[in-house]
């Protein structure tokens, strides 16, 4: 009892004294701290006489954060990074798939069959799980191994805060926090990481805006889709020597569309559901530091690339089993997958996509990385294209982009399908990890649901609109 009385006394005394001291206590305290700090630092700092003759940092900042050049330079850098990724990843990708899909897969099959294991077992684990995993590895590893180190080098150099500085005024006009530019940049790596990084934003209103719109940053799980589809449908529109530049341009366009949408959505939300003042903040522009190239390459390879790849493999494995199973269990002379695809096809075509794409997006909710392998496997099994396949849901001998292109075109894909897939790959629900992270960070079912369905609604409306406009001209 007396303990409680004591505690109450502490609190009541504090309340009384606070009243007596007045409300400028916080200011007085901060002032004291600042005075003390400046007193000490003036004692211990000795400025040497010789000033550096040339301040490179200031000179660089003048160009990189310039009113006129800042944003164009930013897009140029983005372009160079994507272009290097696209043109560099092609060759190692096909080498990997040649090895993992064409050499290792038949070998594993034969070994298991010679052990007298049942056909369905080999089907589920080798034709399903192993193949989809092998696909994910060969499609994803090379672009990631190029993109992550490049991005990390820019980050190490100190470029990211400059991006935030350049975009700050635009975000402010959209009613959002300037640091949203930073969280968006993180989202380019991984949306779940981007959502966590919104913790640097103090105001709950602006933090919600940043969380909801983070999915509009094209995450690395979606680039392989973008890059592959751009290469097949956009790159082939121009002569081969221009293909790389045009494909990179198309990917950049989609990425910029994402940025623009994040601004538009922020703007509308801040005028409707999330009204409020834009808060001010101070952004520190750290000095440029020469990036440690070898170390960056090493850590971003080991850390990020392997980490993201591992996540993809963990999801690809069960997804492969699902795909194989629904492609091979037949009801009334047709596989489950084909039934679903035929059912979804009218809706898909109406939206400018097709049934395979819709089913693939349902199967691949756990991880965006799986979209392309899933689409390919489902397409092959739907068509029953035996020249490419060793049975339903089994992919064989796809050595090059042309083979993939042939399969897709044989299934009725056009330039329009390609464009719409790129748009829909940007604008659909976040992956399950990101949805879970959004829920953990917002602790609100309402905002999680909004963040999940808003992009799908926008995406489907946009592909529908593109399809209508397209049909006007064709």
């Amino acid at each position: 009892m007396s303990q409680l009385a004591n505690r109450d006394k502490i609190i009541s005394t504090a309340n009384k004294l606070r009243w007596e001291l007045g409300d400028n206590l916080y200011d007085a305290l901060m002032e004291t701290i600042y005075e003390n700090a400046s007193e000490i630092s003036s004692k211990v700092i000795i400025y040497s006489d010789k000033k550096p003759p040339f301040n490179l940092d200031r000179y660089l900042d003048k160009i990189l954060t310039s009113k006129y050049f800042g944003i164009p330079i930013m897009f140029l850098m983005l372009f160079i990074v994507f272009w290097l990724t696209i043109s560099g990843a092609n060759y190692p990708s096909s080498l990997l798939s040649l090895f993992l899909v064409d050499k290792v897969h038949p070998f594993l099959r034969e070994v298991l069959l010679s052990l007298n294991l049942p056909e369905w077992f080999v089907g589920v684990f080798i034709d399903g799980a192993y193949l989809s995993t092998a696909w994910v590895v060969s499609v994803m590893l090379p672009p990631m191994a190029i993109f992550f180190p490049l991005f990390t080098l820019l980050e190490d150099f100190g470029y990211l805060p400059r991006v935030a500085f350049n975009l700050d005024s635009i975000y402010k006009k959209a009613g959002a926090h300037g640091k949203q530019a930073l969280t968006m940049a993180m989202g380019f790596g991984c949306n779940a990481a981007g959502v966590i990084s919104t913790r640097i934003i103090d105001s709950p209103r602006e933090r919600l805006l940043a969380i909801i719109t983070n999915n509009f940053s094209l995450c690395n799980g979606r680039w392989p889709t973008q890059i592959l589809i751009a290469t097949i449908f956009i790159g082939t529109l121009v002569p081969p020597y221009l293909a790389g530049i045009f494909s990179a341009g198309a990917v950049i366009f989609v990425a910029i569309l994402g940025i623009a949408l994040s601004l538009i959505v922020s703007f509308f939300l801040s005028k409707t559901l999330l009204k409020g003042e834009v808060s001010t903040f101070s952004l520190e522009l750290p000095p440029y530091r020469p990036p440690r190239i070898m170390q960056t390459i090493y850590t971003s390879l080991i850390n990020k690339t392997i980490f993201v790849l591992w996540r993809a493999i963990v999801f690809a494995f069960p997804a492969g089993i699902v795909i194989w199973t629904i492609s091979n269990i037949t009801i009334q002379d047709n596989s489950i997958a084909n039934h679903i695809i035929s059912m979804l096809n009218p809706l898909g075509l109406f939206l400018g996509l097709n049934g395979v794409i819709l089913l693939a997006y349902i199967i691949a909710i756990p991880a965006n990385e799986l979209i392309i392998p899933t689409i390919l496997m489902l397409t092959v099994s739907y068509l029953g294209m035996n020249e490419f396949s060793a049975g339903s849901g089994v992919l064989f001998e796809l050595e090059s982009v042309e083979d993939i292109s042939n399969i897709l075109r044989a299934n009725g894909w056009t330039l329009l399908t390609g464009i719409n897939l790129m748009i829909f790959s940007l604008l659909h629900n976040p992956c399950s990890t990101t949805i879970f992270t959004i829920f953990k960070e917002t602790k609100s079912l309402k905002w999680t649901v909004i963040s999940t369905f808003l992009p799908i609604i926008i995406g489907l409306s946009l592909t529908f609109l593109i399809t209508r406009i397209w049909s006007l001209f064709n």
Binding site: L17, P52, L160, Y288
Partner: protein, 268 residues
């Protein structure tokens, strides 16, 4: 040439980086808890990686670390758990990342807090340093990015600074591994009580404030005699910090502090 001189200590058997064992995430049976605090983008995660051998992502922008991450290392046959905190400009603000840092230093009771400062912006970094010294008595100031400061024509008298602050001050360049031996050594000395810190306390000119603080500290003394940072708690009470008021009501404030069992720790 310069490097040779600096590494002389590293060749000495009792002061050797070879004593450092990077334990990664193996945090079993640690003897001490060490926290890394400081302004954003001063190199906390770089130091964290250096000591633990982990590969926390580092990047040249403020706000890189938003959650606290933990790792471990062994030095002179003692095990240390190292906690990397999000960067913060002050302990008085309200964003989630800064609260994580504040709560850990206040309630996590680390045995040593390494305050990582950007040497090129010492004055602003001292603002946070002084606030941390109000909370904890056992701290080490790491003057990181000392090479950058030198390049910008800024020299810091680290011995005088150490005298002023009453805690060890080590100039380092964590990116290049410079000064890390010395840093490890003072962490060890402060943790084991061989180095006794007498930290600088904020001197307020306001008599009213000082007497108000004293009055509350006295009351706190009766109720929570083991509480190490009564002045800070008193200040927060005067400002009406709701989380501190609640922890007094429930008595949690008294349970937070576990008296350090020095006798066990001193047994090598």
């Amino acid at each position: 040439m310069n490097n040779n001189k600096l590494n002389n200590c590293a060749d000495c058997p009792i002061h050797n980086i070879g004593n450092l064992k990077k334990l990664g995430i193996n945090m079993n049976n640690f003897d001490f808890v060490v926290a890394l605090a400081g302004n954003p983008n001063t190199g906390k995660s770089t130091i964290f990686n250096y000591f633990t051998g982990l590969k926390q992502h580092t990047g040249n922008w403020p706000g890189k670390t938003v959650t606290k991450s933990e790792g471990a290392f062994e030095y002179s046959s003692r095990k240390f758990k190292l906690v990397d905190l999000p960067g913060t400009y002050s302990l008085l603000s309200t964003s989630t990342d800064e609260e994580i840092a504040r709560d850990f230093i206040l309630f996590g009771q680390p045995d040593v807090t390494i305050i990582v400062a950007d040497s090129t912006r010492l004055e602003r970094n001292l603002n946070l340093t002084l606030q941390i010294l109000e909370i904890t008595d056992r701290a080490v100031l790491c003057l990181n990015l000392i090479d950058e400061a030198k390049r910008n024509g800024i020299l810091i008298d680290d011995r005088l600074l150490s005298k002023e602050l009453g805690i060890p001050v080590i100039p380092t360049s964590a990116r290049n591994g410079q000064g890390m031996n010395e840093l490890l050594n003072v962490i060890f000395e402060v943790a084991t009580g061989r180095y006794l810190c007498k930290p600088f306390k904020i001197k307020s000119k306001s008599k009213d404030l000082n007497s108000a603080i004293e009055e509350i500290v006295e009351l706190l003394n009766e109720e929570f005699p083991n509480l190490p940072n009564k002045r800070w708690v008193a200040l927060r009470l005067l400002e009406g910090d709701q989380s501190i008021i609640n922890s007094i009501k429930t008595g949690d404030l008294g349970n937070i502090y576990k008296p350090a069992d020095l006798s066990v720790k001193e047994n090598i």
